[in-house]
């Protein structure tokens, strides 16, 4: 019988997912950094007791270390906002996370009919995109998805999920980045749910959509690509056709903030982003634009603005619903899914950002407090 092989690459993934260095993991299991390195390169094999210790610390099952990796995520497939300044450790953690998350989605996809990605194809010859090309790309996307060019989108997370994007959050990463996305068979957006402003969360999702549409196969994270994704997000959330119709004329006048806030509530786009777009489209001049930004900063609205709390929060639903269908239709609980992936339910919960109730255990042990009533 062929002996099972301990897979060093799986140890590396589990370690990175927990944000540990080789030394930190070595310290936790009372061994050296060098030994962990040798295990990860498969120069040596671990003893049973050290595997058990790994399982406890890394929240995985023993079987995890003996299953091959499906297809690991590569750095160029991730869209980070600031690639050069993103810590290397964080990049590796995201890659490990995405690899395991993709295994989960792939597992669900075996049982479930999930929405398939449907991004428009944008014909583009030269880099970078012109402003006009970006506006057109956003219009094409809206038209393909039957969203119209003059209608606000009430729930952007739902729109993306309907067209095949899986939105999640990961506590270990989310708070350190605005949002990031991974463009693979199942496009994933990892959002930062710690943000207080719903408008900013919506904008982040549209920004990542911009990367999916404009930057397939392109390395992003540079100011040019990030600015392109920002422009796409503005155009997608508030198309120029509608903007021209609804933005009041302020030529030679003071800005009317009541009207701007009304647009903000209607379109779910921050006042700051509306002002930016008005200037970008030539509807207000440079002086009006600067004055508006100064006012927003002076009134403490640089991060959280007035009426942010009156915009409906958006929660991703696809993953939660998929888990419900698995349980209700197939009788497969999240804990059983975790077991199939070779990870502990606590780690699955951390990966998907959803609390997992523990499975009721069948036992013939009767609790003492019930015993006296029998």
């Amino acid at each position: 019988m062929k002996a099972e092989i301990f897979r060093g690459d799986k140890l590396r993934i589990a370690r990175l997912l927990k944000g540990l260095s080789q030394k930190e993991l070595g310290d936790k299991v009372a061994t050296s950094r060098q030994f962990i390195h040798q295990l990860e390169t498969e120069a040596r094999s671990p003893a049973d007791d050290i595997i058990e210790a790994f399982c406890e610390i890394l929240q995985v099952e023993r079987s995890f270390f003996y299953q091959p990796i499906g297809n690991d995520v590569k750095p160029e497939q991730c869209h980070f906002r600031k690639r050069r300044t993103t810590q290397v450790g964080l990049v590796y953690r995201v890659l490990a996370y995405s690899t395991i998350f993709e295994e989960l989605v792939s597992y669900l996809n075996d049982f479930l009919d999930l929405p398939q990605p449907e991004f428009p194809t944008i014909e583009h010859q030269k880099e970078p995109y012109s402003n006009l090309e970006i506006e057109q790309a956003a219009d094409i996307c809206r038209t393909k998805w039957k969203l119209g060019l003059d209608t606000p989108i009430s729930n952007i997370a739902r729109v993306l999920e309907n067209y095949g994007v899986i939105i999640t959050q990961f506590r270990g990463v989310s708070e350190k980045v605005d949002a990031l996305s991974v463009n693979r068979r199942f496009p994933i957006i990892i959002r930062n749910s710690a943000k207080e402003s719903i408008c900013r969360l919506r904008f982040d999702l549209a920004h990542e959509l911009g990367h999916f549409v404009l930057h397939d196969g392109v390395e992003t994270g540079e100011p040019t690509t990030e600015a392109e994704a920002d422009k796409f997000a503005s155009a997608f959330l508030f198309p120029r056709i509608a903007f021209q119709k609804e933005f009041p004329s302020f030529r030679g006048k003071r800005l009317n903030w009541d009207l701007i806030y009304r647009l903000k509530m209607r379109w779910g786009l921050s006042a700051k982003a509306i002002i930016y777009r008005a200037h970008y489209l030539g509807l207000i001049d440079a002086i009006q634009y600067r004055s508006a930004n100064v006012l927003l900063n002076k009134t403490g609205q640089s991060k959280v603005e007035k009426f942010d709390d009156q915009i409906k929060p958006e929660e991703p639903e696809l993953l939660t619903n998929a888990l419900k269908v698995m349980k209700n239709e197939r009788g497969i609980t999240p804990s059983q899914i975790a077991k199939c992936l070779g990870i502990k339910p606590e780690l699955l919960s951390e990966i998907i950002g959803i609390e997992i109730p523990s499975d009721p255990t069948v036992s013939n042990i009767i609790p003492l407090f019930r015993r006296k009533f029998i």
Binding site: L112, D113, P115, L132, R158, R330
Partner: protein, 61 residues
């Protein structure tokens, strides 16, 4: 210059765009006094694959 043609069901039938210098042009549309309502989508559909449904039905019968 940007023009859009709608049919009676408000579906877009044609879109024309004529770039004017380097500026981003606006659409020229009639001003509609009624603001279009926000577009609402249902939650993304998730269902069990047909092959699993058939197996389950067979097992039940």
């Amino acid at each position: 210059m940007y023009m859009i043609g709608y049919n009676q069901s408000n579906e877009i039938r044609c879109q024309w765009e004529i770039p004017i210098e380097e500026m981003v042009p606006f659409a020229l549309t009639l001003v509609d006094p009624i603001e279009p309502q926000p577009v609402e989508l249902p939650p993304a559909p998730v269902s069990i694959k047909k092959s699993y449904r058939v197996t389950r039905e067979n097992n039940e019968s």
